[in-house]
Symmetry: C2
Subunit: 207 residues, 2 copies
Amino acid sequence: MSTETVPRWRRLEPDERREQILACAIRLFGERPYAAVSTTDVAREAGVARGLINHYFDSKRGLYLEVVQRMVTVPKAGRAKVPTGPLRERVEFSVDWLLDAIGAHGKTWIAVLGTEGVGNDPEVERILAEADEQAAVNLLKTVGMYDAEPEGEQLRALVRAYGGMVKALGREWITHGNLTREQVQLVLTEQLITLLVDTFPRMQRQN
Amino acid sequence: MSTETVPRWRRLEPDERREQILACAIRLFGERPYAAVSTTDVAREAGVARGLINHYFDSKRGLYLEVVQRMVTVPKAGRAKVPTGPLRERVEFSVDWLLDAIGAHGKTWIAVLGTEGVGNDPEVERILAEADEQAAVNLLKTVGMYDAEPEGEQLRALVRAYGGMVKALGREWITHGNLTREQVQLVLTEQLITLLVDTFPRMQRQN
DNA sequence: CATACTGTTGACTGCATGTCAATAGGCGTG
DNA sequence: CACGCCTATTGACATGCAGTCAACAGTATG
């Protein structure tokens, strides 16, 4: 008869446990809407007592906010090449890079943009706005127009709005399959060029 | 001593009561996110017993879905003028009409688009997708390209995606005040023209 | 092997949702 | 005008979830 004591649970480093719970939460919140995911679900998924979740995260809402933060944080893949040459080429390069990123993280991506519900959640809105801004800045730097003269703020606003179309087209491509990658690429390229070389200058004159 | 019996509550026609509750729900769900609105809140706001909500709506979720449905249902304002003339004019007319609609229902509008959270809610997604499709069809009809040749489905997909930019620009204009109405109008007009007269034809050739 | 540190548990509390039998508003009828 | 019926509405109940906390048990250390 073995009196060997087999531990009922393993003790992990705080960071490790936190990550593990967060990973499970990301999966579940990605599949179902907020209200349809209980902390009990997350706890079961992580093989952990429910109370532990409140130990590592203030509340269910706090956990959710971190999930959103993680999901919108683009891996910022190392794009070593700093493109040069005429604007058109830089734009094409940027759009291509965008589509690569979307294609790679497609699954997570659609989960993030999946639902635009009703109801103002300032916190969530702030996180998403920050991510949009980040993406806009990235794009502008890549096409070499970040240091855009007067009214750079307006240009960023335009590119942020352009991001809205990127998301929508991404959904048409990835989730609905209504458009091919080539088609999306064409549209995004033409639209961005129009925006940068035609609309933006005219808008400046209008100020 | 008056023995007059003053009713504790008034008996309403089902449709009437339903509308009343729905109106309160729209207000509350427009202000706070789903989880932060309890059926108790809605009941108090409407001055009825909580149980009545489950009598008229299957569940809190069911109520929410109807709220979303109402909020995305554009009043479909009677635009009597059927525009004619060159495409540019029709586009300008359409964009102008769009911005009028956004400006008028601005408050509700931003509430609807306010938050894009994480998590797939197929029902909500379906409602919003339907609204987007409706808007796209409306726009295409107004510019006179609804009966667009082959690949009309692809054109609708493009216009739906364009709608993504409309929303984003609307937010930059209405809620953040980063752009003026004139600027938004300029951008939307140029982008739509590019899409219709340049990109779409090229895309068709690409098929 | 004993001890201390702390990651982890499980029970407790309050609140929210959904259900259902009982109640009462108010219209139609005698 | 009073009575009675229909049903809109209520209020209590059951279930489940979120947050708190004292106690427990891995586990590293001497």
